[in-house]
């Protein structure tokens, strides 16, 4: 039975290269996974010396290979990222072997600081993004294990600060790019940081809208961050994806706020009539908001395109 359809005209050179790389990467990945499984099977039988030797050997191999491959080339950057990951695993094993009693946040904090040399050496935006995730994890663990239990800060406020830190990192990245560090200028990084930062801020903001008290800081920070990002990426540094994310999250918050107001008005006493009336009003509100978001985004898109053309 033959393939009747004409196979798509494609760039044969690119796909030949893809196939070769896929075979290489998949082969290496399966083999290395097998090696990892093998050590996992024998892990309990390995002494501390063997465990540390294994990981430190892997770290040295990754660093030497990174130098050999070229620190600023993709292979070298990937190996430096691997070195950063192995550093964290090494910390985990130190904690496992010596039972230091350290909290998780200390492990993540040390990990965040100690990988800085590999980070600066790699000049890789992906490495910086992973470092940001690592630093955020360390900060979140510090909040969960120290600040919130000790009553220094409320959980909602802490989340607001964490979201604000991600936005601050985005601001820092933009400033560094303006200072001439071109390799950080990656669209995916900008959009991802805006998405993560606003998503974290949205949680306490929704909490404030639903509960009415306790999360004022998160609510205020969300409004400021969404407004500022929307303005900056619409007017100063045109990036429509960030504008769409800020507008979408704002619309989502407005939907929740509308739901709260509507059910405050019609009441939530369990009567079928009130519930139906409330749902009907919420349906109209959500439809109105979504339709308005479409119109708003269309308008922003046209304005940004016109500015891009210099009209």
């Amino acid at each position: 039975m033959l393939i009747r359809t004409r196979l798509r005209d494609r760039d044969d050179d690119i796909w030949r290269l893809w196939a070769l790389r896929a075979l290489l990467v998949l082969g290496a990945a399966h083999f290395l996974a097998g090696v990892v499984f093998f050590f996992a099977y024998n892990w309990d039988d390995l002494g501390p010396f063997a465990r540390f030797g294994l990981l430190q050997g892997a770290l040295i191999v990754a660093l030497v290979a990174a130098f050999a491959a070229g620190l600023h080339r993709p292979a070298g950057q990937a190996l430096l990222i691997a070195a950063s990951v192995i550093t964290g695993v090494l910390f985990g094993v130190i904690g496992q072997v010596y039972q230091t009693g350290a909290d998780a946040w200390e492990l993540f904090a040390a990990w965040t600081v100690l990988v800085l040399p590999w980070l600066f050496a790699s000049r890789s935006s992906a490495h910086w993004f992973l470092w940001c995730a690592l630093a955020l994890t360390a900060f979140s663990a510090y909040g969960d294990q120290v600040l919130i239990p000790m009553g220094v800060i409320a959980a909602g406020d802490f989340m607001a600060v964490a979201g604000a830190l991600v936005i601050a990192f985005l601001v820092l990245v933009e400033l560094v790019i303006r200072a001439g560090v071109g390799w950080l200028d990656q669209r995916w990084m900008r959009v991802s940081l805006a998405l993560v930062g606003l998503a974290i801020l949205l949680i306490p903001a929704i909490g404030f809208v639903l509960e009415g008290d306790g999360d004022e800081l998160g609510f205020a920070m969300f409004l400021v961050a969404a407004g500022a990002l929307g303005y900056i990426y619409a007017r100063v540094l045109p990036e429509f994806a960030v504008v769409a994310i800020a507008t979408g999250f704002a619309a989502l918050l407005a939907m929740v706020a509308g739901g709260r107001v509507i059910f405050e008005i019609v009441g939530t006493d369990g009567e079928a009539g009130s519930l139906v009336m409330g749902l009907l009003m919420l349906l109209l509100w959500c439809g109105f908001l979504t339709a308005s978001t479409v119109r708003l985004l269309n308008l922003f898109n046209r304005q940004m395109a016109a500015r891009g053309r210099g009209d």
Partner: protein, 312 residues
């Protein structure tokens, strides 16, 4: 409009559609006090009709289109759930969802809705297999793969691509994400050898079709690839070879989306394979290393034959 704007609007439209569903449910069940599950099916049918009507409007804008997709898809799910709930049997939802999917394919050309309708049928099929504890489920689900592949490579006059994609993806998603964690893994033979055989045949079919169309002197490399693919299919559980099959399909058709999906699924497979209880960690490690050696040997052989070809 870029995809992320469609996504923002889609989320808004889905929330609106969910509120609409709740409103319909509240009217029928609380206001009219009808407690039959069939009432859900009636509401679902109304929403399905509304969604299809929105999609058939010539001048439907972005919001109307997204709202139409959300409403019709939720309606289709409600119709199936209504009938299944009334009969108190999950399998009853299967023929109902299949009929609804046929209606959707006949009445609209919207690819997203067609994909969702086909995915609903596949999901209910898989749930039925799990609930009814059908033996050899892996082998049964694997039968969908050749149908999907055939439809994609030999498209009929009516465009069935969304259904074909669902058929092609059902087995990899089922075997990688669902099968290892379900009751199938306990006290029941979930099969796998028929699935492996199907994958081997499909690898050969794909590569042979490619070789015939291209008509080039690539026989040595093709033979290497086929030999490696057969060995991998025999060594790995069928979930792993299914992801590799997706990559082979991506290579033959030049689809970067399928290539990316195949790589993600394979990475996910290796990760989950660690927790699989079907054999010891030692045996799994030896199998993975063997697969690695096969793939690396294929890479070395293909690269060497290319070098020799260019030198000649």
């Amino acid at each position: 409009m870029p995809w992320y704007v469609k996504m923002v609007v889609g989320v808004g439209a889905w929330i609106t559609a969910v509120v609409a569903m709740l409103l319909g449910g509240a009217i029928v069940m609380l206001l009219m006090k009808i407690e039959s599950a069939l009432a859900l099916a009636v509401i679902g049918a109304a929403y399905l009709a509304l969604g299809l009507w929105l999609l058939r409007q010539v001048d439907a804008g972005l919001f109307a289109t997204q709202m139409g997709i959300a409403t019709a898809a939720a309606g289709a799910a409600l119709v199936s759930a209504g009938f299944a709930g009334e009969a108190e049997e999950v399998w009853v939802g299967l023929p109902v969802s299949a009929v609804v999917a046929v209606v959707i394919f006949l009445l609209t050309t919207n690819k997203t809705l067609q994909f969702l309708a086909a995915a609903l049928v596949a999901a209910i099929f898989v749930i039925t297999l799990e609930v009814e504890r059908v033996p050899y489920a892996l082998d049964i689900v694997a039968l969908a793969t050749p149908v999907g592949l055939y439809l994609l490579l030999n498209p009929p006059q009516r465009d069935l691509a969304p259904a074909a994609i669902v058929l092609l993806l059902t087995f990899p998603l089922f075997s990688v994400f669902i099968a290892p964690d379900t009751v199938f893994a306990r006290n029941i033979d979930i099969g796998g050898w028929v699935a492996r055989a199907i994958h081997i045949v499909l690898f050969i079919w794909l590569v042979d079709g490619y070789r015939r169309q291209r008509g080039r002197a690539i026989d040595q490399r093709v033979a290497t690839f086929v030999a490696a693919a057969i060995l991998v299919c025999l060594l790995l559980p069928p979930g792993g070879s299914a992801a590799l099959l997706l990559m082979a399909f991506a290579y033959v058709t030049g689809s970067m989306s399928f290539a990316t999906l195949g790589i993600v699924l394979q990475a996910q497979f290796i990760f989950r394979y660690y927790y699989s209880l079907e054999m010891t960690l030692l045996n799994k490690s030896l199998l993975l290393m063997a697969v690695g050696v096969v793939l690396l040997s294929a890479w070395w052989f293909v690269q060497r034959s290319e070098r020799q070809g260019s030198n000649a």
